[in-house]
């Protein structure tokens, strides 16, 4: 009893110290409903990726801090550096980070396998109000390994077509419904002497793999057969690799094999390309007039259909996980719970980063902040597609390099069939040793 009083007293004192603002926040702020102050005084270290989700949630963090009394220390890194930073820290068994963003399809299985990601099954399934069942099944699956939950999905992505409305209008064009049309339009709009290109998509070895995956699936190909062997020897795969390379070599900007998404996005923002295919989360960057000279003229369309239909990827690209060694697991869960609560997910979705909560997707206001065509595309594509955008293995980095190499060969106009045959062989060897 005495201790309870003491705690209450301290909490009350701290509350008055923080001032009326926080009290008001607690009462009026729907974004902080249900946040407990049980862990007040804890300092949580978070490692995030430089990602639109991070940019959006950064603005909401003070509200969480005010109500919970937890201090958040956030470090942000670009994807590659994030992965390296986490790996070095986790390898040495250190507790530098309590919670962090990770890519379930990239590092997820390895991190879980290595005992780096804390098993949060009891947290996730134990909190009925927060409601784990509200997460899309496909998304939940990507963070569940051997029946244990290792993270909470925060960002879902689908490949979409961004195009220049003004230029399409001038030329009397409709956004392409098929990959054939895509190529024809790209050909029509490319004007090399004016440095204007029909289409831009990532061409760097490893980053290109995710955007290429939609093409592969839409041509009827995939990465692995049911029996776990390489499926790169199919004629569909060859056709997809050939198409992707021809498209970018003929109608893409020069130097595309050194482009990941920041570079490709920049080309589109600068008004030098008629079409850009990439994840739908980059919406906000494209329509921001501070970054984009084409902000007012961007149209959105679903991924065009290939010979096997329109099978774009539809994946959980980022999740929040907990360090297995963290001493602040309860407080970390308090944060993860808040960051993935319906109110916050709704708020982030309004700001342009679609999450994985079914209930939010069903709310009309969930997509209210978006232009109609964007909302329609995202809505449509979230119902379909393939749940992975890269090979599903443990050591994904290596696999991406193997399957990405023929993309570069193809863009540079080399012998695609030979490069693919070689990749097929290497991929089989790799799959044999991967143990996944």
């Amino acid at each position: 009893m005495k201790r309870t009083w003491l705690v209450l007293l301290i909490v009350a004192l701290m509350g008055s110290l923080i001032g009326l603002v926080s009290v008001q926040a607690q009462e009026e702020n729907p974004l902080a409903v249900g946040v407990s102050d049980e862990y007040a005084g804890t300092e949580l270290r978070l490692i995030f990726a430089n990602h639109p989700w991070n940019n959006s949630i950064q603005r909401l963090l003070p509200q969480f801090e005010a109500v919970s009394g937890i201090t958040l220390r956030v470090e942000s890194y670009f994807e590659d550096q994030l992965s390296q930073r986490l790996q070095v820290g986790l390898t040495s068994g250190n507790t530098q980070a309590d919670a962090f963003m990770f890519r379930p399809l990239q590092e997820g299985r390895l991190f879980a396998d290595n005992g780096w990601l804390g098993d949060i099954t009891s947290f996730a399934t134990g909190d009925l109000e927060w409601n784990w069942a509200d997460f899309q099944a496909a998304a939940a699956n990507t963070v569940t390994f051997d029946e244990a939950v290792f993270g909470v999905p925060v960002v879902t992505e689908r490949e979409m077509l961004y195009y220049r409305k003004d230029i399409f209008e001038e030329n009397g064009l409709q956004p392409p419904a098929t990959l054939e049309e895509l190529q024809a339009i790209a050909a029509q709009l490319t004007n090399t002497s004016e440095e204007f290109y029909g289409v831009v998509i990532r061409g760097r070895r490893s980053p290109a793999v995710t955007q290429f995956s939609s093409f592969l699936y839409s041509f009827g190909g995939t990465w692995q057969n049911e029996d776990g062997t390489s499926a790169l020897d199919s004629p569909e795969a060859l056709a997809a690799y050939q198409y992707y390379g021809d498209l970018l070599r003929n109608y893409g900007p020069p130097g595309i094999t050194n482009m990941s998404w920041p570079e490709a996005l920049a080309v589109f923002q600068q008004g030098k390309a008629a079409m850009w295919l990439d994840a739908d989360v980059f919406y906000a960057n494209v329509i921001d007039p501070n970054q984009s000279v084409v902000a007012d003229n961007v149209g959105f369309a679903p991924f065009p259909a290939g010979p096997a239909g329109a099978n774009q990827y539809n994946v959980t690209s980022w999740a929040l996980g907990m360090n297995a060694e963290s001493e602040n697991q309860e407080a970390a869960w308090e944060f993860i719970k808040w960051a993935t609560s319906p109110a916050v997910v709704l708020e982030l979705q309004k700001r342009g980063t679609p999450g994985a909560r079914i209930s939010v997707w069903e709310l009309p206001e969930g997509l209210s902040g978006f232009p109609e065509d964007y909302a329609a595309v995202v809505q449509l594509q979230s119902q379909r597609g393939v749940g992975f955008d890269r090979p599903r293995v443990i050591r994904v980095g290596e696999a991406r390099d193997i399957v990405g190499t023929p993309i570069v060969t193809s863009i540079e106009g080399g012998d695609v069939a030979a490069a693919l045959a070689e990749a097929h062989e290497q991929f089989n060897t790799f799959l044999g040793s991967d143990g996944g």
């Binding site: 590659d80 390898t91 396998d113 094999t257 980095g397």
Partner: protein
């Protein structure tokens, strides 16, 4: 122990005094250099992805075996590293010699030139790489603008497998030729005057003086300069990492970049460790060869 004479006392005394001077550094060296080397060497006989659940698994020399006999990517990386180093250092040596001869002696603005020549070396590689990245940019970069304005076809620079390594060599040359110039200038100022006087009296022309006097006398400095540059060029990391990450394809993947990829992208810490050990052996071997050359030819201003 048997001979506790004056001499051993003295050496022992000398040893303990020396120890006092060097102890802090020895602790530093043990912790920060010897331990990591030992750790890496041990790990190179294991396979490990950094798992907290499974200890590293002992695999004998299989990592070395894979790298040396069954990894074309490693083989390519080694050859590429040699190509990068050889071309960069050779051009730097020739250019460096030319520039050193050019700015040796008096001229207007000598002081300024000697300051400016330091700038590429001291500028932060990551920052300066970003500037080069912008200049190499195929559509908006300075180089293509200049090329097209004087009637040449634009190039792809870092965006092509054929041109990327050459472009990186270009950056290395810009960055490190000044180092050659600096070292060779120092060498030039320490050359003895007499042989040149004598040659002039004998009627030797400038070309003869250069080939029969300057070059041989400068040779030891050149060997030292080439050694230093070679070690650094073999290990080039910041600029490649910033500008291409080893791409496009694998066109600029050097041993160092491949080692980085193995440890931080593939999580193959064992294989990465054996790669680093081999890499270390290569650098060490090359350094020893150079040291031997230097010994053979003697160093005039150093004993």
């Amino acid at each position: 122990m048997l001979r506790l004479g004056q001499r051993s006392l003295q050496t022992r005394n000398r040893f303990s005094i020396g120890l006092l001077f060097t102890l802090p550094s020895i602790v530093f060296v043990l912790l920060m250099i010897v331990y990591p080397i030992f750790y890496t060497f041990t790990l190179s006989f294991h396979e490990w992805s950094g798992s907290a659940r499974r200890d590293p698994e002992y695999v004998g020399t299989s990592n070395y075996d894979t790298l040396l006999n069954n990894d074309p990517r490693f083989e390519d990386a080694v050859m590429r590293t040699f190509e990068f180093t050889f071309k960069a250092v050779a051009i730097e040596l020739i250019l460096g010699l030319a520039i050193a001869l050019l700015i040796n002696g008096e001229f207007l603005g000598r002081g300024l030139v000697r300051v400016l020549i330091l700038l590429p070396m001291v500028a932060t590689p990551v920052a300066i790489s970003m500037a080069w990245l912008l200049m190499f940019e195929p559509t908006v970069g300075l180089f293509n603008e200049v090329l097209t304005s004087i009637g040449f076809a634009p190039r792809l620079w870092l965006g092509s497998q054929d041109e990327a390594l050459g472009s990186l060599i270009l950056v290395d040359i810009w960055q490190w030729t000044p180092m050659m110039v600096l070292l060779l200038l120092t060498g030039l100022t320490t050359l003895p005057e007499e042989p040149f006087e004598a040659a002039r009296v004998d009627g030797a022309n400038a070309g003869q003086r250069f080939f029969y006097l300057t070059l041989p006398l400068l040779f030891p400095t050149m060997v030292t300069a080439v050694l230093l540059r070679t070690i650094d060029a073999l290990k080039t990391f910041d600029t490649i990492y910033t500008m291409t990450r080893g791409g496009p394809g694998y066109a600029t993947e050097t041993i160092n970049i491949y080692g980085y990829v193995q440890s931080f992208e593939y999580f193959s810490l064992g294989k990465a460790s054996s790669l680093l050990v081999i890499f270390f052996a290569i650098v060490l071997g090359i350094s020893l060869v150079f040291t031997q050359i230097r010994k053979q030819w003697g160093i005039p201003y150093n004993d």
